[in-house]
């Protein structure tokens, strides 16, 4: 090991210091999920890409990685879709507009939207996978002329867990969006399609070489969606996926989010499929 030059401490950034941001709106989406609108001091731009995340903290409770749910085209504030799964998120769910949370980030790779210019975009969202992908969907809609078709496949466990009700209705009606929805198990009132998300894929009519697929969902979903996309003959290099791991520090130090040798908080959570297909722990 050769000795390396140490950087002077003065040249380092405040890696662990959150910025205090105000909750400006709270919307209940499902019994478990709420959508929070957050405003940084002075309405400063978060400066994120679709697919990135922030670390949200409540002092004395903890910090957790949360995907950013709004498009960078939304100015003055950003959205976080938060599922109640533990102590921290439960406390956040009790918060009201006007209260403040700590924010660090944005972190991670995100989707490189410039690369998708002129392409058809296929969104495959399972469950809360729609939360980060909503950022990408709205980005495409706000820059509609830059992209080809926008095809959304959204699958949910049941119709009672469907997210973003208002926007979903808009997408359903919007002629610029091809929206497909299915639920694993519908309630008696459910009139739509039932079946797992992969059943939506075979019927799609895609311009394969010109389509990029952006996939996000629960861990078990990826393998099956990949199989479906591959049997459709979508080229591997057209597939991008956002993976969940335990991200703690967000700055590539704490080690928790590693998939084999890759730090998800740095190289991911959005990965180009050819880059991770050899990583055995990825999918």
């Amino acid at each position: 090991m050769t000795k390396r030059e140490l950087i002077t401490p003065a040249a380092t950034k405040d890696l662990y210091l959150p910025v205090m941001a105000e909750i400006t709106d709270v919307r209940q989406m499902t019994p478990l999920e709420k959508l929070f609108e957050i405003r940084l001091p002075g309405g400063a731009d978060l400066g994120h890409r679709p697919g990135q995340f922030v670390e949200v903290s409540l002092f004395g409770v903890g910090e957790a990685p949360i995907s950013i749910s709004s498009s960078p085209t939304k100015k003055g504030a950003f959205d976080l879709g938060i599922r109640k799964v533990g102590m921290l998120t439960e406390m956040i769910h009790r918060m009201q507009p006007g209260e403040r949370v700590g924010i660090r980030g944005p972190f991670g790779s995100g989707f490189d939207m410039a690369k998708f210019k002129g392409k058809d975009v296929l969104v495959v969202a399972g469950g809360i996978g729609l939360v980060p992908l909503r950022s990408l969907i709205n980005y495409v809609l706000d820059n509609r002329a830059d992209f080809g078709r926008l095809v959304i496949c959204y699958g949910s466990k049941s119709d009672t867990e469907l997210l973003f009700e208002d926007e979903r209705r808009l997408w359903e009606r919007d002629p610029r969006v091809e929206f497909h929805l299915t639920v694993d198990h519908g309630s008696p009132a459910w009139q739509g399609r039932t079946g797992v998300i992969t059943t939506l894929i075979p019927g799609l009519d895609l311009d394969l070489p010109n389509t990029v697929a952006c996939v996000c969902g629960p861990p078990i979903m990826y393998r099956f969606v990949l199989l479906a996309l591959k049997s459709k003959r979508l080229p591997e290099e057209n597939i991008y996926m956002s993976l969940e791991r335990r991200m703690k520090c967000g700055v590539g130090k704490c080690g928790h989010c590693q998939i084999n040798g890759s730090y998800v908080c740095q190289d991911g959570p959005v990965y180009h499929y050819p880059d991770i297909k050899a990583l055995r722990e990825a999918l």
Binding site: M1, T8, T12, Y16, F59, G60, P219, G252, G261
Partner: protein, 337 residues
């Protein structure tokens, strides 16, 4: 640079001379057979001939527990506690532990440089010392001979009647000012041999590890492993941490603390909702060994294990990283032969 002769009888005076300039940390006996780095109070308590310390000097740059933020819960504000630079000399450090610090330097500078670590690290001077390898050391197999002086400011080579004291940097020379010593003209005695070896040239390790991903060794070793995480805690190149908030009893103040964590613990990859991404002990054992010999090594071209032998010496299940790697080497050779 110059080499001096420090006879045994003058060692205590030499330590006192260092103490007159900086805080000195050195190995001390703890209990019957354990050694630990501690601030020196009395020079005669320092033990320079020791097999290994329980923890390396990593604990001074990356403390086992440290406050990252302090909170005022009434005002809902937070602040970063000031980190005090270490104006210190680390005396009697074995070569492998110096290399471990250089590796940590890499981890804490690369990507996002971390202020807390660098603040503590920047003022530290290191006085290395040679050692006699015991049945656990294998640093020679990972490119670190027992007398290797890389990263040291001064080095004490054990020799007849005392030490050949080698000055390696201006900082090291500065420590010697005002402490006249005779020159050491004789050659250095050959470093003592190792009794543990990884039987593979470093260049081949990359292929060996890649080939070993599906080896049966992971299952076999994992069967014995209790996932206690000790191997992580004692390792001088492990730097993973967890972060937790604590609230004081008045509920008006609190802090965000980080503490060492270990990839052998099942909770290490657990996300909210309960999913664990390396569920099996075998997956976690592989991750540890790959962290030491593959992932960072593929980028930097060198092992991230320094061969201190601590993990093997302290594993209650008797799991040996040398046996694991040698098993992978054998499997590889058997297939490629």
């Amino acid at each position: 640079m110059a080499r001096f002769y420090l006879e045994k009888g003058k060692v205590a005076a030499f330590i006192a001379h260092l103490q007159s300039q900086k805080t000195v940390y050195a190995p001390h006996r703890k209990g019957r057979n354990a050694f630990a780095f501690a601030p020196v109070e009395r020079p005669e308590d320092v033990v320079l001939d020791y097999p290994r310390t329980v923890s390396s000097i990593k604990k001074y740059f990356l403390p086992a527990r440290e406050e990252l933020l302090s909170f005022n819960l009434v005002e809902n504000t937070c602040a970063q506690p000031a980190v005090a630079p270490l104006d210190a000399v680390f005396l009697g450090v074995h070569s492998y532990d110096v290399h471990a610090v250089l590796k940590l330097d890499h981890n804490f500078v690369a990507g996002n440089p971390e202020r807390n670590y660098l603040t503590r690290r920047q003022g530290a001077l290191i006085v290395g010392v040679g050692f006699t390898p015991d049945r656990f050391h294998f640093s020679g197999s990972v490119g670190i001979p027992a007398g290797d002086t890389t990263g040291c400011d001064l080095f004490l080579h054990p020799c007849e009647g005392g030490y050949a004291l080698e000055a390696l940097t201006p900082g090291g020379e500065g420590l010697l000012a005002g402490f006249p010593l005779p020159a050491h003209a004789a050659g250095l005695p050959a470093a003592a041999p190792f009794h543990q070896h990884i039987y593979v040239p470093q260049a081949k390790l990359k292929d060996v590890l890649a080939h070993g991903y599906d080896s049966e060794v992971w299952e076999e070793e994992a069967e014995k492993c209790t996932s206690c995480g000790t191997c992580n805690l004692v390792c001088p190149t492990c730097y993973c941490f967890d972060v937790e908030d604590a609230v004081d009893i008045t509920v008006t103040r609190g802090s965000r603390e980080r503490h060492w964590d270990g990839c052998l613990l099942r909770s290490f990859t657990e996300v909210a909702g309960g999913e664990v991404f390396r569920e099996e002990p075998a997956d976690r054992q592989r991750h540890r060994v790959f962290r030491k010999f593959k992932y960072i090594s593929d980028e930097t071209g060198e092992p991230w294990c320094v061969g201190c032998g601590r993990c093997t010496a302290s594993c209650t299940a008797g799991i040996s990283i040398v046996s694991i790697v040698n098993r992978l080497v054998n499997d590889y050779d058997a297939v490629k032969a």
